[in-house]
Amino acid sequence: MSHDLEGAVDRLLTAYRTGVPTDPLTPDYPDASLELAYRIQQAQVDAWVAGGDVIRGHKVGLSSKAMQRMVGVDQPDFGHLTQSMFHLEHEPIPAGTFIQPKIEPEIAFVLKEPLTGPGVTVAEAVRAIDFVLPALEIVDSRVRDWKIGIFDTVSDNASSGGVILGSTPVDVRDVNLRLFGCTLHLNGDLVATGAGGAVLGSPINALVWLANTVGPLGVTLEPGHVVLPGSVTRAFPVEPGDTIVATMGGLGSVTAVMGRAAEGQAHDEKEQA
């Protein structure tokens, strides 16, 4: 097995293509740097873009101290959001789209002005936001059983999967970013609650961190792009047929529907009912 950049890219792209997760990368790259992990990530993004997909934003991951401790880092990580990852609210997401999906409630920032780090402040970041939307992020791992270290998740596009955006834009000035409340319902059951500040003290800090982290790499956050700052609650595994609703104070709600396993099967169930 090849232990270079191409080897890892190939393992991850194969996992996407086949739906079969790869073994953890970390044991095969024991001394690899985070920088290599980001290059592995970038190579996959380049492949997607070459295939016609379009970058539509970024996500910040590992945005709580608890998650950072779990993978042994003291800062967040980021991944790319491409066009094909965006799914419509209430529209069933076809089963098989993901390998081992989990869902997270987030406040999505939509930019109106470019943001280029380093040196971006909270003030500048707020000014660059056009509006915010309630969002659900589907995280997924191309690594078997989510056995990820920091090298795995960064290489694997920060465990990105999908994005579902709510439909009612709200001015960022009208939202208490740190103290808005959020509830997460899975099939009607309340599974988690939280406050915006669970994300790095305030989700705006994630946007600032992202701009200042990708800036030195020559990347600007673009107008119209979506930035997901990280989850307000822990992530919850989802299955075909699940309905997930995130409700946020001042932001309304957003609903994701995980499509059933097979159309024919769903049809049969309906007829039997």
């Binding site: 409340g181 959020c182 309340l190 609650t193 939280g194």
Partner: protein
């Protein structure tokens, strides 16, 4: 085996003495298996009588085990109530009285001040909320008289739901001005965010917890009185308080409470 030497009176005295002497006990249920729900509340009420004898005044009620997560942890499917007296009030700015507590833990809560009497059974959440005059944030500093917080539900109820102290927040808000299911709290220890939650974590909605309190007290022929404070239960998990810790609870609309760990 000899017959259990436990009684309602003895259990009440043992638990109050443990509180006074700041000395942890082992489970009472382990020695007294007749300590059922009814008996546990009898112990709690007997302890309240002893508290009144020494001059304490009832100021309200607190709920425990109001979150699904906590209920699953303890293996029960409903909350429980306990008594609040004036000595349990921790004035704003005062540190956690470590010398009077065995192993304090903090929980941020949504508290109600009642404007009218609520007597169950049959009280609904809507009716309960209509009896609320205003809502305040609170930090409850709980303390169990059982070592290592190792107790059964019946032990805990007998022990007045691990009552300790509570500090009220700076803002009083009319209930109709709040969406309590989305009223959030951010809990910080030494400047680090350790947890967050909303009112929905409290028995679905804090008003549901209030209705539960009215109904469960109603079964014992008791009512919630005007002016009483009702602590509706921990929104997050309880967090241990070290001496010297700096605690803060920041609420969406109910202000911030800072508390020194003593």
């Amino acid at each position: 085996m000899t017959e259990s030497s436990w009684s309602v009176e003895r259990a009440a005295r043992v638990l109050l003495d443990a509180e006074q002497d700041v000395e942890a006990q082992t489970s009472i249920v382990a020695e007294w298996d007749e300590l059922d729900l009814r008996t546990a509340y009898q112990v709690q009420d007997a302890a309240l009588e002893l508290r009144k004898e020494r001059g304490e005044v009832v100021v309200g009620v607190k709920l425990g085990v109001t979150s699904k997560a906590k209920q699953q942890q303890v293996g029960v499917d409903s909350p429980s109530t306990a008594w609040l007296t004036d000595v349990m009030v921790l004035p704003a700015g005062e540190p956690v009285p470590q010398d009077r507590m065995i192993h304090p833990r903090v929980e941020p809560e949504i508290a109600f001040v009642l404007g009218s009497r609520l007597e169950g059974p049959g009280v609904t959440a809507t009716e309960a909320l209509a009896a609320v005059k205003h809502v305040v944030g609170a930090i409850e500093v709980i303390d169990s008289r059982f070592s290592g917080y190792k107790f059964t539900m019946m032990d805990a109820i007998a022990d007045n739901n691990s009552s300790g102290y509570y500090v009220s927040g700076p803002v009083s808000v009319a209930p109709e001005q709040l969406d309590l299911s989305l009223e959030a709290v951010l809990l910080e220890v030494d400047g680090e965010i350790v947890d967050s939650a909303t009112g929905a974590a409290v028995h679905g909605h804090p008003a549901e917890a209030l209705a539960f309190a009215a109904n469960t007290l109603g079964e014992r022929g008791l009512a919630l009185e005007p002016g009483w404070v009702v602590l509706t239960g921990g929104m997050t998990d309880a967090v241990p308080v070290r001496p010297g810790a700096r605690l803060a609870a920041h609420f969406t609309s109910l202000g911030s409470i800072s508390l020194s760990g003593g």
